[in-house]
């Protein structure tokens, strides 16, 4: 049941219209960060206020909402955000990626391929991919305008010179539709290949930084790299110890103080689904 003290999905209608207009401009110019008048939300900046505002502007009463943090549905912040929308929008929620119509995420793209009709909303801390190379917004805006991305390539190349490979393991920059360099939010670079040609709509909300950007379905998204050092999606060289998956992103769990560790899928719904189908990993038990 919706909390009657608040408007549907918390935000007032004028605020939602403002956010919706920003989302549409983001869709029209893929990868470009649209400024929007982010509101103070009842959760702190840096805890998903951008994603929450985008989700609030998109939700319809019929939606089935999934919220994940680090790939998991049961992490505390995911629980908190899911509860917020249950209370203020009265929407039904799910943990099943395939069933969800709107998925709000922090730091992961689900393992199960997304489909048409789904919207993936990312929480973004620092939307500007050039920010750590150039702290000034006035400068980075100019760089995007002039498509001046040399600094980023220099940084990546310096990595190669020093380390033999590009030493960026998450929030790995991408170029969208051959035009804007975009920060995919702090997803592991393992997830980067899922950004492009996705049948789902992908929306990115950065509340504190007041930016919204988007990837329409089937967008062309390329992880920045060099001919002699092509982009490589990487993960821990293990299988999931619970479900045996060979191709999912893994969390490392320390199991004792003697160096014992195990690797488990970070996507809890994916792992549970596999175990329900009878897959058993090294340390798993049949369900």
């Amino acid at each position: 049941m919706t909390d009657q003290a608040y408007n549907f999905a918390y935000l007032d209608e004028q605020t939602k219209r403002m956010i919706r207009r920003a989302i549409l401009k983001g869709i029209a110019v893929p990868g470009y960060q649209v400024p929007f008048a982010s509101r103070e939300m009842p959760m702190p900046y840096g805890w998903g206020t951008g994603g929450v505002q985008v989700t609030a502007a998109c939700l319809v009463p019929e939606d089935l909402l999934k919220v994940i943090d680090q790939g998991a549905d049961d992490t505390t912040n995911a629980v908190s955000i899911r509860k917020f929308f249950q209370r203020t929008a009265g929407v039904a929620t799910t943990e099943a990626t395939a069933e969800a119509t709107v998925i709000q995420t922090r730091h992961r793209i689900p393992e199960v391929p997304l489909t048409e009709g789904q919207i993936l909303v990312y929480q973004v801390p620092i939307p500007e991919p050039l920010r750590f190379l150039e702290p000034r917004e006035t400068e980075t805006r100019k760089m995007h305008e002039l498509e001046e991305y040399g600094l980023m390539h220099v940084k990546l190349y310096e990595d190669i010179a020093r380390h033999g490979e590009i030493a960026t393991s998450y929030a790995y920059p991408v170029k969208v539709e051959g035009r804007y360099v975009m920060d995919p939010s702090p997803i592991p670079k393992f997830d980067n290949p899922k950004l492009g040609q996705s049948p789902a709509i992908q929306l990115f909300g950065a509340g504190r930084e007041q930016r919204i950007y988007a990837l329409p379905p089937y967008s062309d998204v390329v992880s920045l790299d060099f001919d002699d050092h092509p982009f490589q999606a990487s993960k821990a060289p293990h299988d999931c110890d619970l479900c045996g998956a060979k191709d999912s992103y893994l969390d490392e769990v320390i199991t004792d103080d003697a160096g014992g560790r195990m690797f488990v899928c970070s996507d809890t719904d994916f792992c549970a689904g596999r175990r329900a189908e009878g897959h058993v990993g090294r340390l798993g038990e049949p369900v």
Partner: protein
Amino acid sequence: MTATISGDTLSGGFTEAPMQSARAFREILEVLARPGLIRTVTGAAPPAPLSIAAGVALLTLTDPTTPLHLAGAADCQPVRDWVAFHIGAPLVAAEEADFALGTWDALQPVARFRIGQPDYPDRSATLIVELDRLTNHGPALSGPGIALSTWLSLPETAAFRANRALFPLGYDCLFTCGDRLAGLPRSTRVENI
């Protein structure tokens, strides 16, 4: 206010704005994100000559903060009154508009609409174009949002090709016909077939 306001002015808005505008926005988002997709919307009954879909788009996206340009037959007293009562968007010249509404002919020349600035390409107009016919026959579309290619009964191709050439600047379009709508962002490539 005075007794001269007709019943048409007061009616035809959303009766349950939070839910209706949410559902309408999702359809608008889908059609703009997937050029060529045609969706049905409900909830508005604007005065003639506005279509239901055009009324829904106005109610969902515009408000006192968005300057609106009414073009041609859409720029009539009943529509102005309806906009004033339900939306409150200031009515402005084409060059200043965030949103513009009219038939394709009435909106000409479209080059007058705002295309954004090189550092802020989002500061561009959205045109709500009333069409007599909205089908998946016509020029071929490709680009973001389109898996391979699709077709849409655009009123012409040259203007949209010119608009695409401005990318990332340009205006964006919603096409309305009865209770159906489709979208064409500036990013779409348009070809005659």
